[in-house]
């Protein structure tokens, strides 16, 4: 088990107009899963992913990553924890605009002080596997939206994190790019045994997941594993 949440509650603005974004979420995720968090807009998907990813703190409850409780970790330690254990793919603005695709993919590895040889090898390998070997030296502004998301997936994967969190990674993509990105994610899940957890409200994306967790009003309404 790489992720375990225990009774996560999140209340925004507790002092003004409180918003109960999550109401006691218990969740377990095993290594190698390819899981979608689905639900209508405002159901708490982003909030849940942020708390699992150590970007936000739960009002109540605990998050254990590989058995380690990150709920009370101080800020600085949490940044390092994210760097070494979690890959992130956001809906947009994933990449550093002043760096090339290659530099973006190698960025987290650089923060980890990995050697240049190790980085270069891994980065080229990943850019190849997301089909962007000819865009190595392009800046994000020279890439299409789908290509940018593929670079983001490669970047998330580069430091070999425990799992990758992707919050609506296809929300801004057309259907061809969406399929393409999901193909790549599914293949990396197979080949690299990488755990993916992604949120979406797109039925075509939901269809590709092997496990579908549905949130309604901050609660898990259903949790289905396909065979």
């Amino acid at each position: 088990m790489i992720i375990q949440t225990k009774g996560i509650t999140k209340i925004y603005n507790p002092n003004k107009i409180p918003v109960n974004a999550l109401n006691g979420v218990d969740l377990q995720i095993e290594e190698g899963e390819f899981t979608a968090i689905v639900g209508p807009s405002g159901s708490g998907k982003t909030t849940l992913l942020n708390i699992i990813g150590g970007l936000d703190q739960a009002t109540q409850g605990e998050v254990l990553i590989k058995g380690e409780n990150i709920s009370k970790m101080p800020d600085n330690q949490l940044i390092d924890f994210r760097k070494n254990n979690i890959g992130f793919v956001f809906q947009a603005y994933n990449l550093i605009p002043v760096l090339t695709a290659k530099e973006n993919v190698g960025f987290v590895m650089l923060l980890q002080n990995r050697s240049k040889e190790e980085r270069d090898q891994r980065v080229l390998e990943l850019l190849q596997s997301v089909g962007l070997e000819d865009k190595v030296n392009k800046r994000p502004s020279e890439l299409s939206g789908g290509q940018q998301q593929r670079v983001a997936v490669a970047r998330a994967l580069a430091p070999k994190p425990a799992f990758i969190l992707a919050d609506e990674p296809t929300a801004n993509l057309d259907s061809v790019s969406t399929n393409n990105l999901l193909d790549i994610m599914a293949r990396l899940n197979e080949e690299e045994k990488m755990t993916f957890i992604f949120s979406t409200h797109d039925q075509r994306v939901i269809d590709r997941a092997r496990r579908v967790i549905t949130l309604v009003d901050g609660k898990i309404a259903s949790d289905q594993v396909k065979s």
Binding site: L55, D56, I79, K83, Y93, L99, F107, L110
Partner: protein, 405 residues
């Protein structure tokens, strides 16, 4: 990589960055221009004082300057002058005997220092022969000739060939008087000096003082290299312990004060200008941070720690600030070297300039210290300007920044 990112970040909004860079370059240029001008003025004053009044080095009897008593004649003068003449950086030397007393005409009297000089050698040290505006320079053929300044001539209401009476103490302490005839009237443009000095022949003054024809109270020396002063002064001082050998900056401490002030004047100008620029830099950096909230949030989300984010913002500020430095220095140096050669004509203000013993043309000069002061001060400015934006950046909460997607 942080370095590369910082550098590329500056150029994301080239127009805005160039405005800051140009402002810094212009600020540096302005500071250099002003300090070059001020240094040029001071050089003109100091050089004027050296060539017209003090010379590079003066030698006296150790007690002479305190009470200016005529009995304090320089001992071993022959050995001393022999030594000086053999020094290869010697440009000119003049022996002077000096009496302090009164100059009087039928219209009035004034206190004055009477300097007995040898006309030819005195002309090589203080170009007094070129400052004659009426009559002639001292002439050994004449009997008791005297040179007085225009200002004294006006006050005593005397002209060329008028008779004036000098009254002073001789070696024995007796008060003596002697009549002199005005041979020439000079104007060095330094009012203070002009009002206090008159020149006669050394042979005449020594005869009246009851001294040997060869005696002197003062040796005035000009070197061909000003920088050699500090080397030769202690050498002569130890060789002739019964005399006092002093460079111009000891004799006229105000000259040294001016010279030393020059290096701090650039500093002052720069500090004022950079203080004004600091807010522009802070503002620019805050703008770049505001525009990049999401990006900074993303960087922290994927594991860039606060130290690195802070460093990146500080580096950006530094780079932004330093691009203008070579530009400003280059512009400034070019301007200074232009006005250093051509000079700036200030004859419109010559009245007030001459009062302070300066000439009409100002030849700009730059203290060498400027070349480390400018980068140093810009560095301090950049550091101060970067701290607030950098703190702003690390205070960001990644979730909030990313929420703005």
């Amino acid at each position: 990589m942080i370095l590369i990112m910082a550098w590329r970040n500056i150029w994301r909004n080239p127009t805005r960055s160039w405005v800051v860079i140009a402002a810094i370059a212009l600020g540096i240029w302005a500071a250099i221009f002003m300090s070059g001008f001020a240094t040029g003025m001071m050089n003109s004053y100091v050089d004027g004082a050296i060539s017209n009044i003090v010379g590079h080095i003066q030698i006296h009897h150790p007690s002479f300057q305190e009470d200016k008593e005529t009995k304090y004649i320089i001992s071993e003068l022959d050995l001393l002058t022999e030594e000086i003449k053999n020094y290869n950086n010697l440009k000119a030397m003049s022996l002077r005997s000096i009496g302090t007393g009164m100059i009087a005409s039928s219209k009035g009297a004034r206190g004055i220092e009477i300097q007995g000089v040898d006309p030819d050698s005195e002309a090589t040290v203080r170009q007094l022969d070129t400052k004659i505006i009426d009559g002639d320079y001292l002439n050994v053929e004449k009997r008791n000739p005297i040179l007085i300044s225009q200002r004294i001539a006006d006050k005593l209401n005397v002209k060329i060939r008028s008779r004036v009476v000098l009254t002073f103490q001789d070696l024995e302490g007796e008060i003596i008087s002697a009549a002199f005839r005005v041979n020439g009237i000079f104007d060095t443009k330094n009012n203070q000096f002009d009002e206090g000095h008159a020149f006669v022949l050394r042979s005449d003054l020594n005869r009246l003082l009851g001294a040997d024809p060869n005696d002197a109270h003062e040796v005035g020396i000009l070197l061909s290299e000003k920088e050699e002063i500090k080397n030769i002064v202690p050498q002569w001082a130890s060789k002739f312990p019964s005399t006092k050998v002093e460079p111009y900056y000891i004799i006229s401490p105000d000259l040294q004060l001016y010279e030393s002030q020059m290096s701090s004047i650039t500093m002052i100008y720069l500090v004022v200008i950079l203080l004004a620029l600091i807010f522009g830099i802070i503002n620019t950096m805050l703008m770049t941070i505001l525009e990049r909230l999401r990006e900074l949030g993303m960087l922290m989300a994927i594991g860039m720690n606060k130290v690195r984010v802070f460093l990146m913002i500080v580096l950006e500020t530094f780079m932004l600030s330093f691009v203008g430095v070579p530009l400003g220095l280059l512009l400034g140096t070019l301007t200074i070297s232009y006005f250093g050669q051509k000079g700036l004509n200030l004859s419109a203000f010559s009245e007030s300039m001459q009062m302070y013993g300066m000439s009409d043309m100002v030849y700009f000069d730059l203290p060498a210290a400027t070349y480390w002061q400018v980068p140093l001060l810009v560095g301090i400015t950049a550091l101060m300007a970067s701290i607030y934006p950098a703190i702003k950046a690390i205070r960001l909460k990644p979730v909030e920044a990313i929420r703005k997607l």
